[in-house]
Symmetry: C2
Subunit: 106 residues, 2 copies
DNA sequence: TTGACAGGCAGGTAAAGGCCTGCATATTTT
DNA sequence: AAAATATGCAGGCCTTTACCTGCCTGTCAA
């Protein structure tokens, strides 16, 4: 998995919106996705391209149409490899601060 | 929680690295964090500023030093509100594609 | 086969992002 | 008090990014 591409792809609200739309209904065409995007088709194409490079979506051509499918795997991996470790044992934020301050006699 | 700030903050590899360092050892000063960052102190400050705006870290001043603490809450919320919903019932990606193709007689 | 429809490709522009230098401030140490 | 240390602030530069317009290609249907 390419962490960086995934995080960068998720950085844009429009791209997250596209993922939301695909989550509502998987397998939509470019045209369908454009309807909910308030920008030109070409811009949507670019966003979808970045999502595909990040492996967050997969596509299948059907005649002159192109169907877009969300791929949950990289998202899960981001969680599993990256986010989860920050949760573990780190919920004691205030405890850490307090401890640090006390260690130095403030 | 401000989704957008969090995702944008996570988009940069240097900022993710900073979070990694804080995960290794919580409560480090700016100077300490700089040692592992291969860029000027001022740049690190900017990155830390974005992380703080995203509420991914909290800071405490101690004399002339500034201690940085990681805050796992927004990361958990990103997972809980956003990532998790893409996992649920979406692991059947290939199933979806196959179904869509069959529905149209390909 | 011609017109309509779905999508692809190639620049061009304006804004945002990331990094730097230079200087200022606040705290500690000598 | 003066020097050293830790951080803050401002501005400039260059690259990337997110849009757009304009035009081309492939597919389907009349």
């Amino acid at each position: 998995m390419d962490d960086d591409r995934v995080f960068r792809a998720l950085a844009d609200p429009n791209r997250r919106r596209l993922l939301d739309r695909l989550c509502d209904r998987n397998g939509q065409t470019l045209g369908q996705l454009c309807e909910s995007m308030d920008m030109t088709r070409q811009s949507v194409t670019q966003h979808l391209g970045l999502l595909e490079q990040a492996n967050l979506i997969s596509t299948v051509r059907r005649g002159r149409e192109k169907l877009h499918f969300i791929n949950p795997v990289p998202l899960y991996e981001v969680y599993a490899r990256w986010i989860r470790k920050f949760e573990e044992g780190r919920l004691g934020l205030l405890h850490d601060i307090k401890q640090e301050l006390e260690r130095n006699g403030n």
